[in-house]
């Protein structure tokens, strides 16, 4: 019995670690897509930020400096996407793909510039585990939930905050309206362009948190291509969660759980391929309309041109 409980605690902790980068990126995707801009560049934004964070932490020896450089890089590249998609009305999928390609090639190139060769960076400063006294003593779930990196606590805080901002504030109303009926936002005297810039900028910084969690919390080094599709899985979580922050977080936790279980049991019981296709299968199921159709913001992907 005790052994089972310990195992459950370990799986829960693993689920959270797997899900945290996905949740950050999915929250980011939500801000962007709710404002009407498709952001399939999440993968690239995470990768660039993971790299920028490692560089900042390496040269300063301080994880917070790394976090700042990562947020800066995420913001910068998200703004490139914003300029392309909002100001120049370029195809949002193409721009997002360009960000992904740029991230993969750019970080590989910059690895050589900063560290002399590709592969993996030297060890950098990272966020240590923080134990919350009292809460961490709760059996089973305590150590899993409350002995985590600072970034995980930030994630606990950001999920409800995002929900509140998007669904309970005037800013959130304008943001959502920009993605649904931009004409109405315009008529009300609010700039659609500005709302969409806000949405995409926020998506860059949230994706950056996901990247930083990978390179400076789970690990303390950057490896080329280390995001390995997590940005796309975050998009899947976003859709599966019906563009709702709570839903996206639950979806990400579900994907994280599937992965944790696969790593726990012998791999001839659950094939590796299963967990790799799991998020996408669920996404297709949801998009196909099972269990209530997932409906994207109606002006998603359409540039808005003021009449």
């Amino acid at each position: 019995m005790e052994e089972t409980l310990t195992a459950l605690g370990a799986i829960l902790a693993s689920t959270l670690r797997n899900a945290t980068p996905l949740i950050f990126a999915a929250l980011g995707g939500m801000f962007s897509e709710r404002s009407g801009v498709v952001n399939i560049g999440l993968e690239g934004l995470m990768l660039i930020s993971a790299f920028a964070g490692a560089v900042g932490a390496f040269y300063s020896g301080n994880a917070l400096v790394g976090l700042a450089t990562a947020l800066g890089a995420g913001l910068l590249f998200a703004l490139i996407h914003a300029v392309m998609c909002i100001t120049f009305e370029a195809d949002q999928i193409i721009s997002g793909t360009a960000i992904n390609l740029l991230a993969l090639g750019g970080t590989g190139f910059l690895m050589v510039v900063f560290f002399g060769s590709g592969g993996t960076t030297p060890r950098v400063a990272s966020f240590e585990l923080v134990r919350i006294p009292g809460l961490a003593d709760i059996p089973v779930i305590g150590p899993a939930l409350f002995e985590q990196s600072l970034l995980v606590y930030l994630m606990y805080f950001l999920v409800p905050l995002t929900f509140f901002v998007v669904f309970r504030t005037p800013f959130g109303l304008r943001l959502r309206a920009s993605g649904e009926v931009p004409e109405a936002v315009d008529t009300a005297g609010v700039s659609v362009t500005r709302m969409r810039y806000y949405g995409v900028a926020l998506s860059g910084m949230l994706a950056a948190l996901g990247g930083v969690y990978l390179s400076m919390s789970l690990l303390s080094a950057f490896t080329e291509g280390m995001t390995n599709g997590r940005g796309f899985i975050a998009l899947a979580a976003l859709i599966f969660g019906r563009w709702n922050p709570i839903g996206a977080a639950v979806a990400a936790l579900l994907f994280g759980l599937a992965q944790a279980v696969t790593f726990r049991v012998a791999q001839d019981v659950i094939p590796l391929e299963f967990v790799q296709m799991f998020p996408y299968i669920l996404t297709i199921v949801v998009l196909a309309g099972f269990g209530g159709r997932a409906i994207a913001p109606s002006a998603l992907g359409k540039p808005y041109r003021k009449e």
């Binding site: 310990t6 195992a7 370990a10 693993s14 670690r17 797997n18 980068p21 392309m84 120049f88 009305e89 370029a90 195809d91 193409i94 721009s95 360009a98 390609l101 740029l102 993969l104 090639g105 750019g106 970080t107 590989g108 190139f109 690895m111 050589v112 060769s117 590709g118 592969g119 993996t120 060890r123 990978l214 789970l218 690990l219 303390s220 080094a221 490896t223 080329e224 291509g225 280390m226 390995n228 599709g229 992965q259 944790a260 790593f263 726990r264 791999q267 590796l272 391929e273 790799q276």
Partner: protein, 350 residues
């Protein structure tokens, strides 16, 4: 510039240029002395230079060929699997021979390029291609895995700062499921543990089923943590760059890791890496260049490198030397000699 139609291709072009620059096209150091006709080159797989693994090792062998034998050398890095054939063709067109294809991922590419250039010598590392102008350089990874398994099986029964005799559980972290060299490491490892600790449990897990699995340290760390939670106090990996995740987990939880391909304790000094199962790709590459220079290129042959040929080795214990009891060291030496004498049977598949 209000015209979005112009901007998109511009950004795409910029992107492609950046993507092309990603670590590509480095190398090209000319070590030729003019009087020699051998021009040797390697094509890396997607791991590329800087992988602290077999690509770097192959490059070290090539560089040694350049400095010691005075051959002209060149390195082409592959950014994606579609580069393999192009890179091989480009080197063959430029008169390089032998051209080394580093890694089993390039098997298909060598199979299709080699017949088109019958006058060029090719060599493939870690795989077998049957053609008169191709030398297949393979390693008996099982021997390295077996030694690593003996170390793990013996040390998990000892009480040290990193291991405890309470639970006899050891781990194996593989990269891409089904990758032949990794499977041979795993098979040898499991047999080695079994030989010295029949009631030990080996937890073996893989990061993924595609080549990306060699590049996901976050997942590697997660698997290692789960194995540690199940009692593993020594974990051996054959997971390329994903192994960095194992090293972090081992450091956080105070257990031993065993590295692979090169002496990883020297590359990652901060991590508790007890030893490494080394694969001397550099020796294999150097030896083949030397043979080519002497007109003895082993085309059409499968050249095997094992403990005896100094193609496989166990790295020294380094800073953990005093944690390893003398009788364990003696036993390892005994097994090493046994393998060289052919007295130990090592399975090829797990």
């Amino acid at each position: 510039m209000r015209n979005p139609k112009l901007l998109v291709p511009l950004v795409l072009i910029a992107t492609l240029i950046a993507a092309g620059c990603g670590g590509g096209g480095s190398g090209g150091d000319e070590g030729g002395n003019g009087g020699n006709s051998v021009r040797a080159a390697i094509v890396t797989d997607v791991g590329g230079l800087g992988d602290q693994s077999f690509n770097d090792s192959a490059n070290a062998g090539l560089e040694r060929g350049g400095s010691e034998l005075g051959v002209e050398t060149r390195v082409l890095e592959s950014q994606s699997p579609t580069d393999y054939e192009n890179n091989l063709t480009q080197l063959a067109d430029n008169g390089f021979s032998p051209v080394f294809a580093v890694g089993f991922l390039m098997t298909d590419a060598v199979n299709s390029v080699a017949p088109q250039y019958p006058d060029t010598n090719f060599a493939i590392v870690d795989s077998v291609v049957e053609a008169d102008n191709v030398a297949s350089l393979t390693f008996r990874e099982g021997e390295g895995g077996y030694l690593a398994g003996v170390v793990a099986g013996l040390m998990t029964q000892e009480d040290t700062e990193y291991t405890s005799s309470d639970e006899k559980v050891v781990g194996f972290l593989g990269g891409q499921e089904g990758a032949p060299p990794v499977q041979k490491f795993q098979a040898g490892y499991e047999a080695g543990v079994e030989a010295v600790c029949p009631d030990c449990e080996v937890i073996a897990q893989y990061v993924g089923s595609t080549p990306d699995a060699f590049n996901d340290p976050a997942r590697g760390r997660e698997i290692a943590l789960q194995q540690i939670d199940q009692g593993a106090d020594i974990i051996f990996h054959g997971a390329g760059a994903s192994g960095a995740g194992l090293f972090e987990a081992a450091g956080d939880r105070n257990i031993f890791a065993i590295g692979v391909d090169s002496d990883q304790a020297r590359l990652v000094p901060s991590a508790p890496i007890l030893t490494s199962a080394i694969k001397r790709v550099d020796n294999a590459v150097f030896q083949t260049i030397e043979q080519a220079q002497n007109g003895e290129f082993p085309g059409g042959q499968v050249v095997e490198f094992g403990l005896e040929e100094k193609g496989i080795a166990l790295a020294p214990f380094g800073r953990f030397d005093d944690q390893v009891p003398q009788q364990v060291k003696d036993r390892i030496d005994e097994v090493r000699q046994g393998i060289i004498n052919g007295e130990v049977e090592i399975p090829e598949a797990p």
